[in-house]
Symmetry: C2
DNA sequence: GCACCTGAGTAGCTGCCCGCAACTCATCCG
DNA sequence: CGGATGAGTTGCGGGCAGCTACTCAGGTGC
């Protein structure tokens, strides 16, 4: 995360990257989202991340409102902390899906895995796509980008 | 980009982040995509990035096949280098759009701007969304994620 | 009661890489 | 020939990543 463009960059992408531009942050979100992990040790084991880095990243995620810390207590155990995604964190699913899709097609890997998103209960798989207001899918090649003021 | 998970991570997201997990890389792609910039100085001026970092990032983008370098010559000028997105680079538009959308809604900023994607020629705006095979939109809250082997 | 385990961190150190500024190098213009 | 411009390279300095080792609190086995 470059310090030259702070959190008040006018570009929404720069502001997003200020939060999730670090590699580990998105991977933690991914583990929370896909594997349902909530505990320090789960993230540590799953990612092989150093504990001090994990502490720092979780603190960032709490700070930024992407996760909340809750104290829970299983019977017969002492109270522990767990970290759960907030709505803001869960709505990163589009970013996660886009990255997964890109990696799967442009950086294929034997035995690789990619998160798939299913509609609750019906278990129907959902794809990420560009759609117009009339519901038609548009492949990315047919799009041009333009900077637009937020409303 | 953590060195602990190399390019051969089985997770497609980790492999994607290995390429675009750095803040500047995606911002360069964004400038190329949204503003149509192709030249060293254009990126430098638009992003305020240090030249050595820009050199390194452009080299990475060339290496990874997201951009190609071409020599061009305007009449009356000497030959220059320009950097253009490849198909792999352009297909990061989903990631860019997802990040822009997230930043716009969760990190709003007065006077902020977000890239908007329009269908070529018809100029119809296109939105990023999860859709099922029957074409229905699904809001991210109604999705559950699952790790799936690539095919 | 005491040793031990486990989960959740903290502390200290090393090295790399970011970021800045200054410099180079080639070419074109006047 | 002198200056401007575009495209970088080089040389520092500081900060954060990443590793390892340590701490601390509570529960369990004996």
């Amino acid at each position: 995360m470059p310090k030259t463009l702070g959190k008040d960059s006018t570009c929404s992408i720069a502001r997003s990257l200020e939060v999730v531009g670090d590699t580990w942050t998105l991977l933690i979100v991914r583990e929370a989202m896909v594997a349902g992990y909530t505990r320090f040790q789960e993230f540590r084991d799953a990612l092989g991340i150093a504990p001090n880095i994990l502490t720092k990243r979780l603190a960032l995620l709490l700070d930024e409102g992407l996760m909340v810390r809750r104290t829970y207590q299983e019977p017969g155990c002492r109270a522990r902390e767990e970290y759960a995604l907030t709505e803001a964190g869960r709505s990163l699913s589009l970013v996660i899906a886009a990255l997964g899709e890109w990696g799967r097609t442009h950086r294929p890997h034997p035995g690789g895995t990619t998160p798939e998103f299913l509609v609750e209960e019906s278990e129907t798989p959902a794809q990420l796509a560009f759609v117009t207001s009339d519901g038609a899918h548009v492949p990315p090649e047919r799009l041009v980008a333009r900077r637009t003021p937020d409303r």
